[in-house]
Amino acid sequence: MRYLGLTEADRHEMLETIGVPGIDALFKDVPAGALNPRLDLPPHQGELEVERAFAAMAKKNVSPMDVPFFLGAGAYRHHIPAAVDHLIQRSEFLTSYTPYQPEISQGTLQYLFEFQTQVSMITGMEVANASMYDGATSAAEAVLMAQRITKRSKAVLSGGLHPHYRDTVATLMDQTDQPHVAAPVDLAGNEDLSTLIDDQTACVVVQNPSVFGQLRDLTSLARACQAKGALLVVAVTEITSLGLITPPGAMGADIVVAEGQSIGVPLSFGGPYVGLFATREKYVRQMPGRLCGETVDQDGRRGFVLTLSAREQHIRREKATSNICTNSGLCALAFTIHMSLLGEAGLTKLAEINHGKAVQLAEKLSQLKGVAIVPQAFYNEFAITLPQPAASVVEKLVEKKILGGVPASRLFPGDKSLENVLLVTVTETNTEGDMDKLVAALKEVL
């Protein structure tokens, strides 16, 4: 068996050293009858056989590489430079543990420090942590953090918040029977949440751009929150947008949570992704997740360590700010590398391309009969209304070998008002040819 280190001869010698007659003597504490069950599973296989099995499964999927592709809604197809995947596969990154021994983990620690800095910069916030599981779990942790800070319990959730984020927050709050108010679905992008804020409100969670693509200025909402002692939590699902638009920090956000997948992390059918989490410096001791901090070593040289672990479960146990332990280190590394390659100029240009192409497609689509673009202002994603149910349009597009978008009904099942709404995303990976194919296919289908 190729992954096992011991030979039969080794095993015999080792049993002898231990002084037991056979391997099952080491399992003597296992209750009678529970040892060595018969398992109805196949025996070991070589690489070639395993590869064949996965290749067969992969073939049953339609790869975004092979068709015009316009899906987004929380997960985005972007081009990842080859250097990213090469570097994250280096043994020293891939096969190391959490950097609890900083002397031999400076590589991991320094990139986490760089990651925290990048996340702070792009969100326009003062500090960021070393990553969470994904965008939705970041949002849920943000609500808990706001509760700790404000000592209030209620959360107000925008009607433009991705339903998966909304549900993840709600599920966690349900555990302690905390109240949350989900505002009505906000397709038009004109909700006024300030009326929902009361003196029990810990925070307002709003997504920008919204799940329907609407881009909004949150400054007045931030003021309203501040006036009532609530925190403003801004969620960003498409992080490349911050290459082009005013960051939440500049609009007055207290906590920014985001899905970092767009930078460096492949779609991978939904995971693993990387949750970003940034806030104000004054709240840092209420933050969840790992933090990497700068310090010096015995010789006075700059170095990095995991810090403020008095917040964490392995030290504080039931009093921890979160139960999170494993986070998303390697995805954070991919993010850091990709962002380093982009730099200021690259991120800006990437965002301009995304937006520019989205504007182009919006213009083409809006010329189709019965099709209307929903958001006034958007980045690379927008809802459109169709003259028929979006889900069946998407299915018809599949037959034409086009993955045309996400029907809103997939995210808001049962909401009749959204039945004809389709979410369409354009990134730098879409060619003009892709767009023309979508438009032509829609023309036929509608």
């Binding site: 599973l41 996965f54 959490t98 002397e103 760089e114 779990t137 808990l144 840092v284 390659l341």
Partner: protein
């Protein structure tokens, strides 16, 4: 070689990507275009590559040496699994594609679920939790939902003192108070104390088995019976599943829920701290109380239930789970097969007991053997030497080893928890034992050696770091002009 931060290396006028010009269109940003700069540095691709290659060279890794962290199961990560996770059609599919276009992806999830259910002897598994602690959360949510469904609100969770910190933290997140159960002198749950603590307000017990002392809870079936008799559920922390995979089915022991760290037992890489994946197997009594989404067999093949029925307790994360980790774990399982997985458990337990036997005369084992896949020592052998567990661990670094887990579990003094895993050869374990014997003897010999221990490590990119300073005035990001500690930029290039 010193390596500066990217922010210190970067300069305007350089880039690591080439992008075509953006389409020339009028923007539709509604006046929200960013004003001013973000502040990100510009680096060429060669600079980025060199920076991260050099950083990597400051890390220890399994690929370069034994990594005996107890409770972490730092085993070999096969490269085949990395390759499979990147196959076109698997690594690049979108979570919201029509299900007809992702039947293969759903098949991966379904197959992995099948393996997990068979290996644990449990009827159901919730796949979406993103890590072990997230799995614990899922398990407690399922328990809470089941209790709620029978109108039985309970408020207390029992957990041994030796539990992982995630156990109490998770319980607290679900609004439970945590009540510790003491251990017996031989490192197991004290049944009498448990009986005394059980009552109608106990929602569940959270037990790790094999436990964090590296021992199998030999009374586990009794524990299960007692807990069930009290109307409570039995949550098992599966962090140490590697010791029994293929060898013992938790379902045969009376367990109601257990998370499985795919990044431990099933070898998805730790990646410097994640991502992980923590599916939770569930007993009959919990199997309906699951999070969305989940995969079912439908009339058109596999289907994805994204909005559950009344019994589902909700959603735990953005999408369907850690697909990338599922692929790796399934490839690992298929490579090993039933025969290989059983061998994994046997060899990991064999190696740990071999370490225990080989060191018991010079270090101080906390408990009689046999242990499971990790061997626990405490610091009695260092008594009066002036050398602490920490010093001992740091001295190992200078010998070329990553230290074992130290100061955990909390139930013994100055704990050292050693888990060699089944990946290591006997030669490798022998060399490790030789090193530890040498260090133990040096510590006991005292004299000048003590200073060596206290000064260790000395051969590393950095020596011991000032953690107090880091925590007292936290510097959590670089800022322009804020070189906290002096670093010579030219020398760092």
């Amino acid at each position: 070689m010193e390596e500066a931060l990217i922010f210190e290396i970067g300069e305007d006028g350089r880039t690591g990507v080439d992008l075509p010009d953006a389409p020339n269109v009028k923007d539709r940003l509604g006046g929200l275009k960013r004003q001013g700069k973000i502040g990100l540095p510009g680096l060429s691709e060669p600079q980025v590559i060199r920076h991260f290659v050099r950083l990597s060279q400051k890390n220890y890794s399994i690929d370069a040496g034994l990594y005996p962290l107890g409770s972490c199961t730092m085993k070999h990560n096969p490269r085949l699994n990395e390759k499979m996770a990147r196959l076109p059609g698997l690594g690049d599919v979108h979570p919201l594609q029509p299900v007809s276009t992702v039947q293969g992806a759903l098949e991966v999830i379904d197959q992995l679920a099948g393996w997990l259910k068979t290996l644990t002897g449990m009827p159901a598994v919730a796949m979406s939790p993103a890590a072990g602690a997230h799995g614990e959360l899922c398990g407690l949510m399922a328990i809470r939902a089941a209790l709620k469904a029978r109108g039985d609100v309970r408020k207390r969770i029992l957990a041994p003192e030796s539990a992982h910190g995630t156990n109490p933290a998770t319980a607290a997140l679900c609004g439970y108070t945590v009540d510790p159960i003491p251990a017996t002198a031989d490192g197991r749950v004290d049944l009498d104390a448990l009986q005394a603590k059980l009552g109608p307000d106990v929602a569940a017990i959270m037990l790790t088995n094999p436990n964090t002392c590296g021992l199998f809870e030999r009374d586990i079936k009794k524990v299960a019976d007692m807990v069930h008799a009290a109307g409570a559920f039995f949550y098992c922390d599966g962090a140490n599943f590697n010791a029994i995979v293929g060898k013992v089915r938790p379902g045969d022991l009376g367990i109601d829920a257990m998370h499985i760290n795919l990044h431990k037992t099933f070898s998805t890489p730790h990646g410097g701290g994640g991502p992980g994946s923590g599916p939770v197997v569930l007993s009959d009594s919990l199997k309906d109380f699951v999070p969305v989404p989940y995969v079912v067999h439908g009339k058109n093949g596999l289907e994805l239930v994204e909005n559950g029925d009344a019994k589902s307790f909700g959603r735990m994360k953005s999408f369907h789970g850690q697909m990338g980790m599922f692929i790796r774990a399934l490839a690992y399982m298929m490579s090993h097969g039933a025969d290989g997985l059983k061998r994994v458990a046997e060899d990991s337990v064999l190696s740990a007991n071999y370490v225990l036997a080989s060191l018991k005369d010079v270090m101080s084992p906390s408990f009689e053997g046999p242990c499971m896949h990790e061997a626990l020592f405490d610091d009695r052998f260092l008594k009066d030497t002036g050398v602490t567990t920490l010093d001992f661990a740091k001295a190992m670094i200078d010998e070329g080893y990553h230290p074992m887990t130290v100061y955990f579990p909390l139930v013994v003094h100055g704990a050292m928890l050693i888990e060699p895993t089944e990946s290591e050869s006997k030669d490798s374990v022998d060399a490790f034992v030789t090193t530890l014997r040498g260090l133990a003897e040096k510590a006991k010999a005292g004299g000048e050696n003590v200073a060596m221990f206290q000064a260790a490590p000395q051969l590393t990119p950095r020596r011991r770091l000032d953690e107090t300073r880091a925590a007292r005035a936290p510097v959590l990001r670089w800022k322009p002009g804020s070189n906290g500690a002096p670093i010579d930029k030219a020398a760092a290039e």
